[in-house]
C-alpha cells in the first residue's frame, strides 16, 4: 500500500461514502435549519438591542450591556451544557435542537448588538441633527437615516461573526442533536474510519462558502459613494 492509498483508505473510502452519505445529508438538513434559525433570531435580536441602546436609557442599557458582555465572554459549549442540563431541573424540558438554537441565537445576538451599536455610533452626529431638525423622530431618524448607513458599515464584521457563531452548531453533538458533526462522529465510531469525518468537513465547506459569497454580495449591494 502506498501512502496515498493508505490515506484514501482512512479518509476517503468509497464504500463508506456510499453507506453514510444519507446520514451526513440528514445532518446537513438539521445544521441548515439551526443555522438559518440562529441567523434570523440572533441578528434580529442584536439589532433590536442596539436600537434600544440608542435611546440611551440607563434603565434599559444596564441589562443589555450585562447580557452582551456575559454571552461574549462565555464559551458557547459551556452555555449549551448549562442550559441543556440545567433547565430540566427547573421543570423546563426543551429539545437539544431548541437549546442549541436558543444559546447560539443569544451568542450571535450579543456579538451582533456590539457590531450594530458600533455601526450606529460611527454615523456622524450631524446626520442625527439634520434629520431631527426637520422634525423626524428618533425612530424615524434611526430607520431612514442612521441604520441604512450603519448596516453597510456592519456587513463585513457581521458576516464574519455570523459564520463563526453558526459553525458552533457542531457543538450540538454533545447534546445529541443530529447535525452534521453528530452524524459524522457516530458514523466514524461505527465504521472505525475517518471517512465520515471528511464527509462532514466537505459538507461544512459546501454550506459556508456560499454564506461568505452572500456576505460580499450584500456588501456590494449596500455600497454607495460616500459624501
Amino acid at each position: 500500500m502506498t501512502g496515498l492509498e493508505r490515506f484514501q483508505d482512512a479518509f476517503l473510502k468509497p464504500e463508506l461514502i456510499a453507506r453514510y452519505w444519507p446520514d451526513i445529508l440528514s445532518g446537513v438538513a438539521v445544521t441548515l435549519q439551526i443555522a438559518v434559525a440562529v441567523v434570523i433570531t440572533g441578528l434580529a435580536l442584536g439589532l433590536v438591542l442596539a436600537v434600544i441602546r440608542s435611546y440611551r436609557s440607563r434603565l434599559a442599557n444596564a441589562p443589555i450591556i450585562v447580557f452582551v458582555d456575559m454571552f461574549r465572554a462565555l464559551p458557547p459549549l459551556v452555555a449549551i451544557l448549562i442550559v441543556y442540563f440545567g433547565l430540566p431541573n427547573l421543570g423546563i424540558n426543551i429539545s437539544g435542537f431548541a437549546v442549541l438554537w436558543l444559546v447560539l441565537s443569544l451568542v450571535l445576538a450579543a456579538f451582533a448588538e456590539e457590531i450594530f451599536w458600533s455601526g450606529i455610533v460611527s454615523v456622524r452626529k450631524g446626520q442625527w441633527e439634520a434629520a431631527r431638525s426637520t422634525g423626524l423622530s428618533h425612530w424615524q431618524t434611526m430607520t431612514s437615516v442612521i441604520l441604512p448607513q450603519a448596516i453597510r458599515i456592519c456587513v463585513p464584521p457581521l458576516t464574519n461573526r455570523t459564520i463563526a457563531v453558526t459553525k458552533n452548531t457542531a457543538l450540538g453533538t454533545v447534546i445529541g442533536v443530529g447535525e452534521i458533526m453528530n452524524e459524522g462522529t457516530s458514523a466514524m465510531s461505527l465504521s472505525g474510519n475517518a471517512t465520515p469525518l471528511m464527509m462532514a468537513a466537505v459538507a461544512y465547506i459546501l454550506i459556508f462558502v456560499p454564506v461568505v459569497a452572500l456576505g460580499s454580495w450584500i456588501e456590494r449591494r449596500f455600497a454607495w459613494k460616500r459624501a
Binding site: R124, G126, Q127, E129, A130, A131, R132, S133, T134, G135, L136, S137, Q140, S144, V145, P148, Q149, R152, W224, K225, R226, A227
Partner: protein
Amino acid sequence: MSALLDVRGLRKSFGTTEILRGIDFSVAARELVFIIGPSGSGKSTMLRCCNRLEEPTAGQVIVDGVDLMAPGIDINAMRRQIGMVFQAFNLYPHMTALGNVTLALRKVLGKSRDEAEAIGRAALDRVGLKEKAPSYPSELSGGQQQRVAIARALALEPKIMLFDEPTSALDPELVGAVLGVMRDLKASGMTMVVVSHEMRFARDAADRIVFMAEGQILEQGTPAEIFGNPQLPRTRDFVGELSR
C-alpha cells in the same frame, strides 16, 4: 410687531462650564439677524438651543408664540417649522438630492411620494439645482450640497430658518452661490438667524447685527451702527480685526 422668535434668559452649561450666560434676544417676522462674535462665544450653541438640538439649561425659547421648553411640547412638530442649515451640510449620503429633500415631507408631513417629489423639485428649483435632483451628495460640490441642504429645510415651509456657519466649510469660489440663495430667501420674506463670518454679506443683507462674547450679547444694532460706530471696546476690537 410681535417677535417670531423670542429667547429669554437662555442659559446653557456643559458640566461646570457655562457657555450661555443669560441670553435675551428676539427676532421679528421677515427680519434677518446676523450673529457675530469670537469663536467660543456661544453663537452656535445659542442657535442650536433655538430648536433644542442643544438642550438649554434654563430659560425660554418661544417660536411663534409657543414655548419650546414647555412640558409635553411636541418638539418634532415645532422643529419642522424651524429650518436649520449646518456648517457641514449633513446631507444623507445614501439618498439623492431629491431623496434628501423629500424624506421629512413623507415621514413627518405624511405626503405621498408624488406630492413630496413635486414639492421637493420646486424647493430644489428655488436653490437653482432642479437638474441635480437625481444626484447623490458625493456627486455635488460643497456649494451645491449646501444649497440642497437649504432646499431640504425650505421644503417644509418653515417659519424661520437658522443658519449655523453655512459657508465656513466652503471653498471661497463656492460661497457666492450659497449667499445668493440666502439673499433670495431674504427677499422672499423669510425670517432668518445667521451665525457667520461673512461680514460683507452681513453689511449688505442683515437688518440687525448681534455681537456675542463669552456667552452674552454685548451689543446689537443695525449693520451701520455695529460696523460704523460700535459702542463697546470689545465690539470695536472684533469688528476692527475683521475689517483688516
